[in-house]
Symmetry: C2
Subunit: 227 residues, 2 copies
């Protein structure tokens, strides 16, 4: 068991070293980087499609897509008008710093204002892995139920921004907005919670404003240290 622990420690140390390398790369290029996490189907790709369509002329953006299989999401992003590259993890349950470093070969970072990383759909494992991002965005959606923050506390505790998607389905579900906000604030008192619907477009403006503000901060120089 001691051997297993030592090996695990070595793997973690290597992963942290690569994440630090990413931090330096992003800082040098003055590109704002957000790592998006959620359950499968909460609407990460839909939010990025909306962002591409609405901010694509104002900011130079790109997306790294993480999925077990298929390049469907990268294709959706490209159709929305911005560059994207797909990482297929095989069975892998999260993106690693190594995979992001390899994907960067396919972008000229200096030509970008914003880089989004769409992690594998999984509310557990991605929360444990630092990808050198400035901000972590956790999405939830109303049909998933209002108790997800307390049931998946690590992701919500570490979030810099929580997006509640599919508010157009509120009336059709048993979701309690009040309960959800209470659970989020209990784990992460200061985190902004942006309520929106990628389907109707309601509330998406707040998200665009959040991206603009974060990007401005990153362009000015080193941002406040990540969690």
């Amino acid at each position: 068991m001691a051997k297993q622990i030592r090996l695990a420690q070595r793997v973690v140390a290597e992963s942290d070293r690569l994440a630090d390398e990413l931090v330096q790369r992003f800082r040098k290029a003055r590109v704002f980087v957000a790592n998006l996490m959620s359950s499968p189907g909460s609407g990460k790709t839909s939010l990025l499609e909306e962002t591409a369509r609405r901010l694509g002329k104002e900011l130079r953006m790109a997306v790294i897509e993480g999925d077990l299989a298929t390049d469907r999401d990268a294709q959706r992003i490209q159709r929305a008008g911005i560059p994207s590259c797909q990482i297929n993890t095989g069975g892998g349950c999260h993106l690693s710093a190594r995979q992001i470093l390899d994907a960067l070969e396919r972008f000229n970072l200096a030509d970008l204002d914003v880089l989004f990383i769409e992690n594998v759909g999984n509310l557990v494992c991605p929360a444990e892995f630092d990808l050198g991002e400035h901000r972590r965005v956790v999405l939830a959606s109303t049909p998933e139920g209002d108790d997800k923050p307390v049931k998946y506390p690590i992701a919500f505790h570490k979030a810099d921004c929580v997006v509640l998607n599919k508010i157009d389905l509120l009336a059709a579900t048993d979701f309690s907005r009040e309960a959800f906000l209470k659970y989020v604030k209990g784990l992460n008192p200061k985190v902004p919670v942006l309520e929106l619907s990628c389907r109707t477009g309601e509330g998406v403006d707040q998200w665009l404003d959040w991206v603009r503000a974060q990007r401005k901060a990153a362009a000015k120089g080193p941002m406040k240290s990540r969690k």
Copy 2:
């Protein structure tokens, strides 16, 4: 790296040994065991609540609940009238055979007809771990989108039964039933797909019939080997 691989092989071998021990325990007790997997919020607990309410007088059932945190799901099941026990994994992304063996201490297996294991909400990692179950049930729900089978192929490929929940929300989403069924059948041609809504009760009868049939087969003796 060779050392890491050898250690990983040893861990997998131990996990398989414990799963085999579970197979023997379940076989001896003639209890039918189903392992339920899905994304967070697809409706695993809701389906088990409905099952408890509708089958609780006909079959002796119990539920082992897996969650990172809280005992909310175990409480919901108990309120629906059947015994349950909660496993909290801390940060763990799936249930292990070791955890199930420990949980069995809290039931008298010989007094049960059916044992449900509700895995951690995660469409990736639980698919890799054998818990000695007779059948694997994978749930999806319409608001998650119709492309989930191709994006999370391992879980759907290994499923013995696919439940499509929240069909009451079909009209409010962009979900294509035809696309979903095509994707599932492409990965797993013979798997039954049960379309239902735990909220309205529509289609739940087919699920109860499936449970009854599986339980009958398990009571008769060894079932066809698992995938």
